[in-house]
């Protein structure tokens, strides 16, 4: 059985073409969501992780969506493994996808983060069980 540890995750080259294809497939929805976000930060208090981390802005739902999916679209999928690994912490550690985030405009933030997870997972970037328990990937 393939043992995909974090060190192994780094070995495979990033398939930017595949990322681009994934991004293009959902462009209509995701780009509109990203584009219409007014960057007002009013979603902040609806996130329990934001509240639990002394209102640290990096736990804000909009920040998490912009700095993961937003970056992927901005770079048109041309990202390296280092950046994907950075995003791993944002979309898995800083968000539990509880779906409680509230946007006054009506942007569905969890779907953006879930999609960012899918893109990362397609490149074998996801937290391992032993990583999560040791928190060494944070």
């Amino acid at each position: 059985m393939e043992n995909r540890r974090m060190s192994d995750q780094g070995a495979k080259p990033v398939d930017t073409k595949q990322i681009k294809e994934m991004l293009d497939r959902k462009e209509g929805k995701m780009k509109r969501y990203l584009s219409h976000c007014a960057h007002c930060s009013l979603c902040a208090e609806s996130c329990f992780l934001y509240m639990a981390h002394h209102k640290d802005p990096q736990y804000m739902p909009s920040y998490k969506a912009i700095s993961s999916l937003g970056k992927l679209y901005k770079k048109k999928g041309k990202v390296d493994r280092k950046l994907l690994t950075e995003m791993k912490g944002i979309v898995w550690r800083n968000c539990v996808l509880c779906g409680r985030c509230y946007c006054p405009i009506g942007i569905h933030i969890p779907s953006m983060i879930a999609f960012a997870r899918s893109v990362l997972r397609s490149q074998d970037v996801y937290p391992q069980l032993d990583e999560v328990s040791s928190e060494s990937w944070l």
């Binding site: 509109r32 960057h39 609806s46 209102k55 990096q58 509230y102 006054p104 405009i105 942007i107 569905h108």
Partner: protein, 219 residues
């Protein structure tokens, strides 16, 4: 140049604004489809509410909204958005121009009132700018683009205020005012300002927990 800004560009701006919104509206319906399932289930009969019950229900609902977490921003943003539409549409000067050009006009608010309301809009913009500059949670997601969008929204009101009080060189201020309004109209359908239309589409048509109506569409 002044003639072009005051003449054809006004029509061009309105055409782009209206066609742009129509295009975005149809694009939204092309990209979304009716849900195969609806949550909550369709067969749940909604309780008939009297006017009193509705008011009590709405007031009680406010507890779970931004009104509770951020009352100041809720008030400022509500006031800003209402006046942003109200002031230019019901401004006496605009309605006179409308009457001269197309032979019809809407009601007009007293000039002294629109002057105050413009001042209120400017204060609201200053508040938003302050949040962007000094509040770390807003600053962290702010880019130059956000300032540009804020400037696009601010410019027609600031120049209109200057023009009404005849500050600076009147003709130049008026030209910039007209140009600022045209830029705003043109950019609305294609930029972040598109939330003017998409707010309603997202909150009323897309099915999710926070829909205002029973949103029945999905992406």
């Amino acid at each position: 140049m002044y003639n072009f800004i005051q003449g054809p560009l006004v029509s061009i701006a309105f055409v782009i604004f209206i066609l742009g919104l129509i295009f975005q509206f149809f694009q939204f319906f092309r990209l979304t489809k009716k849900k195969e399932w609806i949550y909550p289930p369709v067969d749940v009969k909604r309780e008939k509410k009297t006017a009193g019950k509705w008011i009590t229900f709405c007031l009680a609902s406010l507890n779970g909204t931004l009104w509770k977490t951020d009352p100041l921003v809720t008030i400022v943003t509500s006031v800003f958005h209402v006046f942003l539409i109200l002031v230019p549409v019901f401004l006496l000067g605009h309605n006179i121009l409308l009457n001269q050009s197309w032979g019809f006009s809407l009601w007009s608010l007293p000039e002294s009132m629109t002057d105050i309301l413009t001042g209120v809009v400017l204060i609201c913009v200053a508040f938003f700018l302050g949040r962007r500059l000094f509040l770390s949670r807003v600053r962290v997601i702010t880019s130059l683009y956000d300032y540009v969008v804020l400037l696009i929204a601010l410019a027609p009101f600031l120049t209109g205020y200057f023009a009404y009080h005849q500050w600076f060189h009147y003709d130049t201020v008026m030209t910039v005012h007209i140009l600022a309004g045209e830029v705003m109209l043109i950019t609305i359908p294609f930029t972040k300002l598109g939330h003017m239309l998409f707010f309603f589409l997202y909150r009323f048509f897309i099915g999710n927990e926070y829909s205002f109506a029973r949103g029945e569409r999905t992406w």
